[in-house]
């Protein structure tokens, strides 16, 4: 009989090893899944994890890695603050969409005027839009005790409907011959979020993601706020005695993660996506949750996890084109990764023992 014995201290070694073991197990289980779908498992895994970096088309896919990873890292970094304190913002997808809508609205209001101030104004609008959208569930929890998991999630559906309304109505391209979707911001020089170094994939969103990671690390390691977040996560009641105001912390975490998600939306709509369309929300807000956990809610961990998850996106697209692997298989793959991670994580806090308990 195997039983679990709580460790006195969480094992640092296991905490570090868990993500790697989870990735390996996911590759194994994913290989079985692909084999069950009638694909060569080795080839599928190689196409997903190796080819985007070193394959024949790597020149195209390597920059894409940064493009896909930037929103994931930006959003996940924001989420990690709240998650550490037990504040569950599940609605980043909605905040991402609203950030993009606000930024696009600012740009389209100014169109076609050119000004160096436009891009900063869009950054501000995107962050503010995400911030306010994220604050709604925060305020509802603090003021009315409404569960933030449910309200933030409901607001994703509201944001998606709002996006459709904007793409079909107010922000629709007047020269688009009636097609849904806004003007292409990537072709509007003042608003475009272009690559800083051509061909590198490095756009301002990547820079923002890196800044966010470093800032979050500083907050966790050196700042009062990080201390309060960690304390609240570990012992909410003790935190109150230590002077933490739980309501304020909820608002700060929800607002901060909302603002970062809104920023991610802004950089996406002004760059890689280019325009607001009905299908603009690509699920980054949900995948970022996996990224946050895979990165152990640690900023640099999130950086690595974001790059890995971006790899599965790009590799998944490659596998879809070359091996006709269904898109959904990659979704399952990502879900399994989180399952394995959560499952193996038991070894961080507990030690398995064989035999009966000592009396």
């Amino acid at each position: 009989m195997i039983r679990l014995e709580r460790r006195r201290e969480p094992s640092r070694g296991w905490a570090l090893a868990t993500p790697f073991i989870a990735v390996l197990l996911t590759m194994l289980a994913g290989g079985l899944l692909f084999a069950a779908l009638g694909k060569d498992p080795v080839e599928a895994i190689r196409t997903i994890f190796w080819d985007p970096l070193f394959g024949p088309y790597a020149g195209y896919s390597r920059p894409q890695l940064l493009v896909k990873a930037a929103p994931l890292i930006l959003i996940a970094t924001g989420l990690s603050l709240g998650f550490r304190a037990g504040i569950w913002n599940i609605g980043a997808e909605g905040q991402y969409i609203v950030g993009a809508i606000c930024a696009a609205a600012v740009a389209l209001a100014a169109y076609p005027a050119e000004s160096v101030l436009l891009f900063p104004a869009m950054v501000l609008a995107g962050a503010l839009g995400g911030l306010l959208w994220g604050l709604i569930p925060g305020v509802l929890r603090v003021r009315f005790g409404a569960n933030e998991v449910l309200t933030s999630l409901m607001l994703v559906y509201v944001a998606e409907a709002l996006l459709a309304a904007m793409a079909l109505g107010l922000l629709r391209n007047p020269e688009g011959r009636g097609f849904p979707g806004s003007r292409n911001l990537a072709q509007y020089p003042s608003a475009a979020n272009l690559e800083i170094l051509p061909g590198s994939g490095m756009h301002w969103g990547v820079v923002a993601a890196l800044i966010a990671v470093v800032a979050a690390q500083v907050i966790f390691a050196r700042h009062q706020l990080g201390y309060r977040i960690r304390l609240t996560g570990a012992a909410p009641r003790a935190a109150v005695f230590a002077g933490v105001r739980p309501g304020l912390l909820v608002l700060v975490c929800m607002g901060f993660s909302g603002a970062l998600a809104g920023l991610a939306g802004m950089f996406e709509v002004a760059g890689p996506a280019g325009r607001l369309s009905i299908d603009f929300g690509a699920g980054y807000g949900f995948t970022a949750i996996i990224v946050a956990f895979l990165g152990r809610l640690n900023p640099f961990g999130i950086l690595a996890a974001g790059l890995l998850m971006a790899l599965t996106y790009i590799g998944g697209e490659l596998a879809q084109m070359q091996l006709a692997l269904p898109v959904a298989a990659i979704q399952i793959f990502q879900g399994m990764l989180l399952f394995f991670l959560l499952g193996i994580d038991v070894l961080t806090a507990y030690r398995p023992r064989i035999g009966k308990a000592r009396a």
């Binding site: 009315f144 005790g145 409404a146 998991v149 994703v156 269904p326 399952f339």
Partner: protein
Amino acid sequence: MSGIDPVILLAQLMVVATPILLAAIGELVVERAGVLNLGVEGMMITGAVCGFAVGVATGSPLLGFAGAALGGALVSMIFGLLTQVLLSNQVATGLALTLFGLGLSALIGQGYVGLRGPVVPDLYLPLLRDIPVLGPMLFRHDAVVYLGLGLVVAVWWLLTRTRAGLILRAVGENHDAAHALGYHVVRVRLMAIAFGGACAGLGGAYLSLARVPQWTEGMTAGAGWIALAIVVFASWRPGRLVIGAYLFGGITVLQLNLQAAGVRVPVEYLQMSPYLATILVLVLLRAGRAPGSLGKTFHAAQ
């Protein structure tokens, strides 16, 4: 607005509320056992695709619903294994289950897009169906609508009138005390989670086999999350669950009818209303006291 007939409206309401009611009654049992499973959406959509696939393969809606319940229960056991045996965080694991279920269902459902499933017949209730007004409103539905209501009564009876219900509530209120009394906390919870998964699966299959009836990717569109909200709204009491589900159903039906009647509000804004209503309900109604051990990890320490 003259085009909206209140009798049809109420009849539709019962149909629209059924998938959410089914998923919510399952989740209510899970939460009364002290487990917070946020994977309802994932289990629901898994049930939707399993039910549809089995229904198409066998031509039998009954087998379809059975397959959906089985599918929902099976994926819920992933959650059960992770949270009860491997002691993982319930919030994170539930989210993972939702993401996994959405992917899994899309993969299984690939070959089923655009197909037609078997027809779920209305239950023929002689005499009752001929009562004026009430007949077409209440007594001309398929069996699953009544199954949902029956399950609510059964769960109420189980929780408040039986020994098994007492044990389930004890486990949910204080798992350490229940463990000390010799009850098998993990076993009780695993059974509750499987029941919740089966109910969510049934709810999903009701969407794909009866309400829509078709398979489309992501077709649950947040119904699982709304079911979770309704459990909170109901303060974990079965009776209030019906009110919550019908309230939600009413708003959805009204919204759909306004769309059909051509109200001069863009469709997208009308589509927001069920979600906004859910938020409003969560805000206006102070939830009752949640089960004491809800969402906490149980580890039988010596």
